[in-house]
């Protein structure tokens, strides 16, 4: 019976939960497979997945600038404004028109990551016949199947199976002393949901307490197990107990050995007004833990973190200000936590190893409802982060005039994204991908990873988007023209300093548009000599010299 194997395999999907630093950590693993991949070359890359639970509203996360009027008309009570202090953040004016997007104004952290060449957006991710049931859709994303498939295992489990055959019996071992996957979160995945960081049974400063707890309870398990339903459940519990014993000590060691970078502060709260329950950042402690475990040398391959609250049928935004409210706080949490995580990894020297991606069971309906919310939809963007990411926006804005039913059409299958990340990012072979059930997507990969960047160092992405040119003429007699390029509107200062560091002239101090900017300045009053001029415009911070004759 298919259902039987369904349960058998599913059970192995998550094989244990730990509490580390106040956060339950759940082991992911899979059943036995051939030992074929052990021999193949392995990268030390890891994948960090962030699940946005409830169905994230893609259109208010990544705003379709090229279709703004239509976007606004479909959700006038919800649309992120295109003017004023809380307008969307233009991602990148150098993108083709149809790809022009804005980020929610509370996602400045992601804008910075993008400008550093560490972020890609994949537009319109879904699957064929995307359904609007949370539960079914979430299962599909986890299982890695079609809308009409009922698979008995998850794709992460299957992939890890290919990497670590004979789990859990042959593990831990010297090659793989850690659980192949770790689920981190306040309410752990399919298994262990809770809302907003409640499991506070272990003090946040004392991650070793879990180890102590594990060591303080339990006894000998029974040796004989009957072949009944009772026996199967008993076996499951005993397996869980064994796994806790196996990994508790190692995780404690790794945690103690590791550290976060002292220069990086992880965000704790949304700094603006939002409903009380939305203020605390539930993601940052999870990512902070991942960074610390990585710095401690953990060899886990896939980490799964979670943030809930995206099922915004009502009061998604404040009725008086569509850029504020519950959803804004959630997006801020993601943006600020991921930015801190990425900075931490960079400072820890771990940036080359980590690829991070967000996903959600579905997007939401383009048309808003009267409750200042959105109902279940289909396709939505995914974010990919990391030093090895090929920065950009993959896919155009959805065409809001040709909806499918009342929903957004799919541009990319979610398995195309995960196949690209596993193969190009983690180095999974074709065979591993086939066993993961993603074989059909090997020739449909997306340009999300650029492995050449680590070898050659690729700054051209940023250079193409932020440039301060030489002023002309230089040497200067009377007037000269300063020119620069920025990829989004920014508050800009351009100032001239003498060799003693004193500012002698302010050329620009104000908002400047995206694109090429030029300003002609009369410097005839400037004493002859050598000067520097410095620009600060968003990510662009550059200094050049000029000679006054």
């Amino acid at each position: 019976m298919e259902r039987r194997s369904f349960i058998k395999k599913g059970a192995l999907w998550s094989a244990g939960t730990f509490m580390l630093n106040n956060i339950p950590v759940n082991l992911l693993a899979g059943s036995q497979q051939l030992q074929w991949l052990a021999a193949t070359a392995d990268t030390d890359r890891v994948l960090v997945l962030i699940q946005l639970h409830g169905g994230n509203d893609g259109l208010n996360t990544v705003i379709p600038i090229s279709q703004y009027a239509q976007y606004y008309n479909m959700r006038p009570n919800l649309a992120i404004p295109d003017n004023g202090l809380r307008k969307y953040i233009t991602l990148d004016s150098t993108l083709p028109g149809a790809n022009q997007v804005g980020l929610h104004p509370d996602m400045a952290g992601l804008k910075a990551l993008y400008d550093q060449g560490k972020m890609s957006i994949v537009q319109g991710v879904s699957y064929e016949n995307s359904g609007q049931s949370h539960f079914r859709s979430r299962d599909i994303w986890y299982m890695g199947g079609n809308y009409n498939q009922y698979l008995g295992s998850g794709w992460m489990g299957r992939y890890l199976d290919t990497m670590y055959p004979d789990f859990p019996d042959a593990y831990p071992n010297s090659q793989m002393p850690d659980p192949p996957g770790l689920e981190i979160g306040n309410g752990v995945s399919l298994a262990f949901h809770r809302d907003h960081g409640i499991p506070t049974s272990i003090s946040i400063d004392n991650p070793n307490q879990f180890y102590d707890l594990i060591k303080s309870v339990g006894g000998d398990p029974p040796a004989e197990i009957a072949d009944t339903h009772y026996g199967k459940e008993l076996e499951y519990i005993i397996g869980m107990e064994k796994n806790s014993d196996k990994y508790a000590e190692r995780l404690k060691q790794v945690f103690d050995r590791g550290s976060n970078s002292p220069g990086v502060t992880y965000p704790e709260k949304y700094p603006f007004n939002a409903p009380v329950g939305s203020l605390r950042n539930p993601l940052s402690s999870q990512l902070k833990l991942v960074a610390r475990l990585l710095s401690g040398g953990i060899k886990t391959k896939i980490f799964l973190a979670k943030i809930g609250g995206f099922d915004t049928h009502a009061q998604q935004v404040e009725s008086t200000n569509p850029s504020m409210g519950k959803h804004a706080a959630l997006l801020y949490h993601i943006s600020s936590a991921v930015k801190a995580f990425q900075d931490d990894l960079q400072a820890l020297g771990l940036e080359d190893r980590v690829i991070t991606a967000t996903f959600s069971e579905f997007g939401r309906r383009p048309q808003s409802n009267a409750s200042f919310g959105t109902d279940h939809g289909t396709a939505a963007p995914m974010f990919i982060f990391g030093k090895n990411v090929q920065p950009g926006v993959v896919g155009a804005n959805p065409d809001l005039s040709t909806l499918l039913g009342s929903n957004l059409p799919e541009q990319h299958d979610y398995r195309q994204v995960f196949t690209s990340l596993l193969q190009d990012g983690l180095g999974a072979s074709n065979e591993a991908m086939t066993k993961t059930n993603f074989g059909d997507y090997l020739d449909k990969k997306l340009p999300l990873i650029n492995n050449n960047k680590i070898i050659t160092g690729d700054l051209s992405f940023t250079d193409q988007r932020f440039r301060l040119h030489n002023c002309y003429p230089n040497p200067v007699k009377g007037s000269t023209t300063f020119s620069f390029f920025i990829n989004a509107p920014a508050h800009t200062t351009l100032r001239i300093y003498d060799t003693g560091g004193r500012m002698v002239h302010e050329v620009i101090n104000g908002q400047r548009d995206a694109g090429a900017n030029e300003v002609v300045t009369d410097l005839s009053l400037l004493a002859p000599g050598s000067y520097v001029y410095r620009i600060e415009a968003g990510l662009l911070k550059a200094t050049k010299t000029l000679m006054k004759q």
Binding site: T17, N148, D195, S201, A226, Y230, S244, A370, S371, G373
Partner: protein, 537 residues
């Protein structure tokens, strides 16, 4: 072949224990002994007797240490609700009330109103032995539900489909195989939208003054102007049926006509055999086992669902048939591999209450409100359950606690390394009378006093008999001789002789110094309560 044929004769110890564990919050030894002599008819007749509604939860008294606000009222409500289960005796009523809460669920943090939560709890208890179809209609305009799933925001012209979707997907017919983007076999996306139109216009009544004439309980208020009075057209899944108001005032449906539309919607959905099957699967998973094979579907679910439909959705008919059946007691075939006894992982609620009830642990008097509702429940039992993975009345999803719906793991969702360790730790804390931070619980399990009472343990000076009685009454299945010897010799006797135990026990009876026997008894109890076997029932 699985069979719903009834069992006959006296239940006997094993069957009585099984029935009581699954249908109540756990028996005492005396209860098992008593039920062992009853027939299934007698036993189930007793379990399904109607019970009066309990007094509502008290209002928290003022106290300088903390603020009395609705958040604290909600804590009192949660403690009160669990305590109803704890004191519910040999009745299935509270277990059924809890079952309905796992189905027609709520989330305290979203509803955030103690009164709305309380009245919904009363509604569920009122229908715990009653009619599921009527309950489905009543809960649709229940105040807590109108808040939880945004029904109060659902209005003509701008439908909010949240409730309509979950009403179909979770509460009634359930989703079948998805055949296209908007077709779940049993209903379509368009049915969700049309159902939302039927349900439009009901608002949360913060005065709780608008009462349902049938139940006397507060319900939401229809704002006629917000109700969609047009004709709602359902898909072929429902025979292309139309629902429209039967009386208009101007262009608007009258309140009676809107309510009639809701009744038509419920009737339309409950006329589908799949609705009865979906509900019977939920009942089966809660009371029997989570894995519904093709055989179980055919032999158990389908006939049960016919009984449910033929009895116009009176749940009692189904419960009686299921709980009396040979299948329930693993007596329908000679095959052991499909035996269900012991196959459910206890919820934290079942674990905590089952232990308290079995050992008759005395809690502080409920008249001492702060001690009872705050130390014993809020910071004690409810916090322990939360550590074990059950935030009571606050499931993470609108589908309720994972264990009751999340395939493929179902009850296994209660077990993670951390949750399991906390379950085991519960036994230690219970005997220490402490919470995990070292604070006083205000009650504890005194195992020496327990075994001393011959109503609990026939003869505490006889260690073999004592261990046997514990095993028989606490664990769901017989254990191997080796396992028995482990509990007896390694733990209770410390590998000394039986005679030594008799001496120690008699010394205690003679001089009142229980140090020696307490240490050994606590070791034994911890080992049993911290065993994988005890996590199951």
């Amino acid at each position: 072949m699985a069979s719903l044929d009834p069992v006959s004769g006296a239940l006997g110890q094993k069957a009585a224990a099984h029935l009581l564990r699954r249908t109540t919050f756990g028996p005492r030894k005396q209860d098992i002994d008593q039920f062992a002599t009853l027939t299934a008819d007698q036993a189930i007749g007793q379990l399904l007797q109607a019970q009066p509604q309990p007094q509502p939860p008290p209002v928290p008294p003022p106290n300088a240490d903390r603020e009395v606000d609705d958040g604290l009222m909600q804590e009192y409500f949660r403690g009160w609700a669990v305590d109803q289960m704890r004191i519910s005796g040999l009745s299935a009523l509270e277990k059924l009330t809890f079952f309905l809460h796992t189905h027609f669920t709520t989330i305290r943090q979203v509803v955030d109103k103690s009164k709305a939560l309380y009245y919904q709890n009363v509604l569920l208890r009122s229908y715990a032995l009653g009619n599921l179809k009527t309950l489905a209609q009543k809960i649709s305009i229940d105040n807590a539900m109108l808040i939880l799933l945004d029904g109060r925001l659902n209005e003509a012209g701008a439908p909010n489909e949240n409730y309509a979707r979950e009403f179909l997907e979770l509460y009634t017919i359930g989703k079948g195989p998805q055949t296209s983007a908007d077709n779940f076999t049993n209903y379509t996306e368009s049915d969700i939208r049309e159902a939302a139109r039927v349900l439009s216009g009901y608002e949360y009544d913060e005065t709780y003054a608008n009462l349902d004439p049938e139940t006397g309980l507060p319900i939401g208020i229809l704002n006629v102007g917000r109700h969609d009075s047009g004709t709602k057209q359902f898909s072929s899944a429902f025979g292309n049926r139309n629902i429209a108001p039967n009386a208009l005032q101007g262009k608007q449906a009258t309140p009676a006509a809107a309510l009639d539309e809701l009744n038509q919607l419920v009737t339309m959905i409950f006329d589908q055999p799949e609705t009865a099957r979906h509900l019977c699967r939920k009942i089966y998973r809660f009371f029997v086992f989570y894995d519904i094979t093709a055989e179980i579907e055919q032999d158990i679910i389908v006939p049960l669902s016919e009984v449910l439909q033929n009895n116009n959705y009176e749940i009692r008919a189904v419960l009686e048939m299921l709980w009396k059946s040979k299948h329930f007691y693993d007596l329908d075939n000679g095959v052991k591999t499909d035996d269900n006894r012991g196959g459910i992982i206890k919820s934290p609620l079942d674990l905590v209450l089952g232990t308290l009830r079995f050992f008759q642990v005395p809690l502080p008097a409920s008249s001492n409100l702060i001690a009872f509702y705050e130390s014993t429940y809020k910071d004690g039992l409810l916090a322990m359950m939360e550590d074990q993975g059950m935030l009571f009345y606050d499931p993470y999803d609108v589908a309720g606690y994972d264990a009751y719906h999340q395939a493929p793991a179902y009850n296994r969702n209660w077990i993670s390394a951390n949750f399991l360790a906390r379950r085991y730790q519960f036994a230690t804390l219970l005997m220490q009378g402490k919470n995990k931070n070292g604070g006083e619980l205000g009650f504890q399990l005194d195992i020496v006093l327990y075994v001393k009472n011959p109503q609990n343990i026939t003869d505490a000076s006889n260690p073999q008999l004592m261990v046997q009685e514990f095993i028989d009454n606490l664990l769901p299945e017989i254990i191997s001789q080796e396992r028995f010897d482990y509990f007896l010799n390694d733990l209770l006797l410390d590998n000394l002789s039986v005679i030594n135990w008799q001496l120690e026990w008699n010394n205690y009876l003679n001089n009142g110094d229980d140090t020696a026997v307490r240490g050994q008894l606590e070791k034994l109890m911890k080992a049993i309560l911290q065993s994988p076997e005890y996590q199951l029932f």
